[in-house]
């Protein structure tokens, strides 16, 4: 096929206009030829024979009349074994390999093979003559902890493919042909372990979508008990700067009960990516005892990398998540931060001179955000296995004001909202998720009715606290003061969690149920007190005991001893 060639007619920031003669597609990838470099870009608008392309690299040095080569392919990623534990930029360029090639800096126009050139131990599943559909496994290779399914490419037309030949059990290169399949017209297709998929298209090779009804345990008490997330669900974490969004996401990435975690660092600090890069390989996954990195993929397009690739990075990440879902795994995607992605859209929209919406964000912002989160989901695959993609995104609202368009558009489509509050982070109450403003539509690990009681006490307690600021402690009744103290205690010993303490950092669901039951008992009991000093002293001491208890490993003798101490302490004061 003849390559379609265009000529540059204009440059404005990362937007390049190209005059094209011939057929091109919207969203197809093209390369601007600058000297000996080729700069990747995507067609985002076609008008009167002029294609507007967003270039994923810095555009300095492009001149009018430069050649542009079009590929007639949409922006795609390569899928195959070897993705896990790797670090990519937004365009699926492996960063450590790029460093070997280019040194300290990200030289533009260098594109490396995303899938490592490696041999894998292949075990076939299908036999010659079997009929197969897109997404069906042809065989497996062992990748780290998992059996990685080698599948029929998702993009093939579903028209009665049969297996003509399949490789025998043995070691093959990742790009070697391992199977030949033919459709009913006899057209044959050679398949290797790698194929590509356009990132902006959802992978839908499954039987049906299921409702997200299984709690995804994060071992963060306030989330699992009060503001749960579900496997296949979505949640968002908006918060002003310094409220601890990234620390919270790292905790989720470390402790969540999922098979694969994909971290998309989108337009945020490079230092934070470096922390994951250097820390995760050292940490062990408590579920498997292997390095955490083995279940992690990092996609990073940090804030100083070219803006257009920022948009691509979230799609690259979710496509990889969907790919691993096709193997029956539960996958969690953590995107930090979706606001930066929205800002990238805004920059491009401005250059295209589109009519701006609220705060100059483009009018299609909401539908793009909705479509992105809708790619999450729990599904039943064609072979009956259940798998899920859970998506969590942070939002960085301007000025910490949740009324802004990105937060509002996100809130419409997610199932749980973990709003972070500056007040709480300033008071060093971590995680700084606001206990009352936040909400979740999913089922948690603790009995819902008991949780509702706790929540009511929190709300009541905060009202009393407001009132006390006006009338003082003296003007508050003893009963109200007890409720206030109960709420404060629930906040201090249950919502707050010390992520730097080895034991407290990860609280197992059984432990949450156990401890919440005791707390529930305290919250609902009536106590006998002398005066307010007595009330304060009682709750202070009880709180201290609880905090000590949090530092002890669950199920040990010391744990039981401390538990008895707590029970004895508060029951002595209780009124029957």
């Amino acid at each position: 096929m003849e390559k379609i060639i265009g000529k540059v007619t204009g440059v404005n920031g990362n937007l390049v206009s190209v005059e094209v003669d011939g057929s091109i597609r919207k969203n197809e990838v093209g390369y601007v030829v600058v000297g000996d470099k080729k700069l990747k870009g995507e067609v985002i608008k076609l008008n009167n024979g002029i294609a507007s392309m967003q270039i994923y690299e810095m555009t300095e040095g492009i001149k009018v009349g430069d050649d542009v080569e079009f590929t007639s392919e949409l922006m795609s990623v390569e899928l195959g074994p070897g993705l896990l534990s790797r670090v990519y930029d937004g365009l699926q360029n492996p960063l450590p390999e790029l460093a070997e090639e280019c040194g300290f800096f990200l030289e533009r126009g260098t594109y490396l093979n995303p899938i490592p050139d490696k041999d894998w131990e292949f075990t076939p599943i299908v036999k010659v003559g079997d009929s197969v559909h897109p997404g069906d496994a042809l065989g497996t290779v062992p990748e780290g902890l998992f059996k990685h399914d080698i599948m029929v490419p998702f993009g093939l037309k579903d028209s009665g493919w049969t297996v003509k030949s399949i490789a025998e059990k043995g070691t093959y290169n990742v790009r070697a042909t391992i199977a030949v399949i033919a459709d009913k017209n006899g057209n044959e297709k050679e398949l290797s372990m790698v194929f590509s998929w356009p990132v902006k298209k959802a992978i839908t090779c499954y039987k049906e979508r299921l409702s997200p009804d299984e709690t995804l345990v994060t071992k963060i008490r306030c989330i699992d008990t009060f503001l749960p997330i579900a496997k296949g669900g979505t949640f968002c974490t908006p918060g002003p700067f310094g409220a601890g969004k990234t620390v919270l996401q790292h905790m989720q990435a470390k402790n969540s009960d999922v098979d694969v975690v994909i971290v998309a660092a989108c337009g945020e600090r490079a230092g934070e990516v470096v922390e994951i890069l250097k820390e995760f390989p050292e940490l062990t996954d408590p579920r498997t005892g292997r390095s955490l990195m083995e279940r992690t993929i990092i996609i990073c397009n940090t804030s100083s990398m070219p803006v257009a690739a920022r948009e691509a990075s979230v799609y690259t990440a979710i496509t990889m998540a969907e790919y691993y879902r096709q193997m029956g795994l539960s996958v969690m995607l953590l995107a930090d931060s979706t606001s930066r992605w929205a800002q990238a859209l805004r920059e491009m929209s401005g250059r295209l001179e589109e009519i701006p919406g609220e705060e100059a964000f483009p009018a299609y912002l909401e539908s793009l955000i909705a479509a992105f989160y809708e790619r999450a989901g729990k599904v039943r695959l064609n072979d009956g296995r259940i798998a899920s993609v859970t998506v969590g995104g942070t939002v960085s609202p301007a000025g910490g004001n949740f009324e802004e368009p990105v937060t509002q558009a996100t809130l419409k489509v997610v199932g749980a909202f973990h709003g972070l509050s500056r007040e709480r982070s300033d008071a060093r109450k971590y995680p700084s998720i606001h206990p009352i403003d936040s909400w979740s539509k999913y089922k948690g690990v603790v009995d819902m009715d008991k949780v509702a009681v706790g929540r009511n006490i929190l709300i009541h307690s905060s009202e009393i606290n407001q009132m006390m600021k006006v009338v003082g402690e003296e003007g508050t009744s003893a009963d109200d003061y007890v409720i206030y103290q109960k709420g404060e205690m629930l906040d201090a010993v249950y919502f707050q969690q010390n992520s730097f303490d080895d034991v407290d950092a990860a609280c197992e669901p059984e432990r949450q149920v156990h401890e919440y039951d005791i707390l529930y008992d305290i919250l609902t009991l009536k106590f006998k007190f002398e005066d307010k000093n007595d009330i304060r002293a009682f709750f202070n001491e009880l709180r201290q005991k609880f905090l000590d208890w949090h530092g002890i490993v669950f199920g040990t003798d010391a744990y039981a001893a401390k538990e008895k101490e707590i029970l004895d302490f508060y029951k002595a004061k209780a009124v029957n």
């Binding site: 300095e60 040095g61 960063l95 790029l98 700067f241 800002q343 920059e347």
Partner: protein, 429 residues
């Protein structure tokens, strides 16, 4: 061959357009005597932003395209010199033309960064003890106009233990420029300092070039294994200059007139801060004045999302609350065994002092404990918070213990018993 174009189509603000062919986006040109760079290409219509401003440019001025992007000379000869935003000497010294390097280069591969673990000592207790500055950190000083932020920067420049200092001044008052120059010369720091200074009277476009020039030079020093500290003052002026250009170019404004790419523009500068794996480091300390003391203003707000913490400068000292060095945990565990505990303990007591102060101002009676706190707060503010204090970290920690001992009994401090036994000043207890 250099072709000269003599027909300028339009001059709007600092942006001129001329019809020319074969020129590259981002390249430099000479319009009359002033430099300009290409900011937009549309067929043969070339938009250029003139560094010296559009004022007085004639439609028949010659435009020469130089065929290369904006560059700055890099060598050890830079040390001790002062330049303006376009790289022209402003100290009557010779112009430097050897070893030209491009500005605004590509970003560092995250895989070649290391986790920052080295402290920068500044001799200022509020920084060293409470919010330690770490090599490769990017930290802004949030402040309002009128606060002594430039004095603070100058003191840090004099006292910080680094190899090279690069000062980028944007929209500086001329007196402030003289102040920096004289202070650094007197303090003997000029020998390892490079200054890129844009004063308030200079053309706006040069203001937007200052950070790129300063950071390009600093990056090279860092690659040579040097520990470099870049001081940028004031980044709000930089953002305002960008706003001016964006509006001249008829870009759709996002928040309060600032361009939609404000975050990316600030980030690409601040993210130059780096600790290279196998070379030196680049640390950025910037000043961001908050118009109307409003931290939700787009410039401080976007800055806060980019940087690793912030120092609040209020009433002449660095506020203990609100100020935050996100990287301090990486270093303050290895300085001295009492550093972390003393830092937390003293801040907690200081916050109690604030509460007592509030109670006092509302007319409540003061208990003995309140009186102790009031004494403590006063000592804390005069002996540690005052910006004129210049002592080493160890002395500052010892001083902290002394202040505690003057005001409290050991068990009132909330510090661990083992530490108190080790560090509590004996004569006073």
């Amino acid at each position: 061959m250099q072709k000269v174009y003599t027909k300028i189509d339009s001059i709007i603000g600092n942006v001129i357009t001329v019809r020319a062919e074969g020129v590259k986006y981002g390249d430099l040109a000479l319009v009359g005597d002033s430099y300009a760079n290409i900011i937009k290409l549309d067929n043969d219509k070339v938009s250029l932003q003139v560094f010296a401003g559009g004022q007085g440019v004639s439609t028949t001025d010659p435009v020469r395209f130089l065929g290369k992007p904006m560059m700055v000379s890099f060598s050890d000869h830079l040390l001790g010199r002062v330049f303006n935003g376009a790289g022209v000497p402003r100290d009557n010294g010779p112009a430097l033309t050897e070893n030209m390097i491009p500005i605004g280069g590509p970003s560092v591969n995250p895989a070649k960064r290391v986790i920052p673990k080295k402290m920068i000592r500044t001799g200022i207790p509020m920084i060293d003890v409470f919010n330690t500055l770490v090599e490769s950190q990017k930290l802004p000083i949030f402040s309002i106009s009128g606060e002594p932020y430039n004095q603070l920067l100058a003191r840090i420049a004099l006292q910080a233990e680094v190899d090279v200092i690069v000062l980028g001044g944007m929209g500086l008052k001329y007196d402030d420029y003289l102040f920096f120059r004289d202070t650094l010369e007197k303090g003997g720091a000029m020998g390892h300092t490079v200054m890129f200074v844009h004063t308030a009277a200079d053309p706006t476009v040069e203001c937007t070039l200052v950070p790129d020039m300063a950071l390009a030079v600093a990056e090279r020093f860092a690659l040579d294994g040097k520990r470099v500290l870049v001081l940028l003052t004031d980044m709000t002026n930089f953002a305002d200059s960008m706003k001016e250009t964006a509006i001249t170019m008829e870009q759709v404004p996002a928040n309060r007139g600032y361009p939609g790419d404000l975050y990316s523009c600030l980030a690409s500068r601040y993210e130059k801060a780096v600790d290279f794996d196998g070379a030196g480091s680049l640390t950025i300390l910037g000043v961001t004045t908050m118009p109307g003391d409003d931290v939700t203003h787009p410039v401080p707000d976007n800055t806060g999302y980019i940087t690793e913490g912030q120092y609040y400068l209020k009433n002449g000292h660095i506020e203990p609350f609100g100020s935050l060095s996100r990287l301090k945990q990486n270093v303050n565990g290895d300085t001295r065994n009492d550093h972390r505990a003393l830092m937390d303990g003293m801040i907690k007591l200081y916050s109690s002092y604030k509460e007592s102060l509030e109670k006092k101002s509302m007319g409540f009676s003061m208990s003995a404990w309140d009186e102790k706190l009031l004494k403590y707060g006063e000592l804390f503010e005069t002996k540690l918070m005052d910006l004129a204090v210049n002592i080493s970290l160890e002395d500052a920690l010892d001083l902290g213990w002394k202040i505690l001992a003057e005001c409290f009994e050991p068990n009132e401090t909330g510090l661990k018993t083992s530490l108190i036994e080790e560090r509590w000043p004996k004569a006073l207890s």
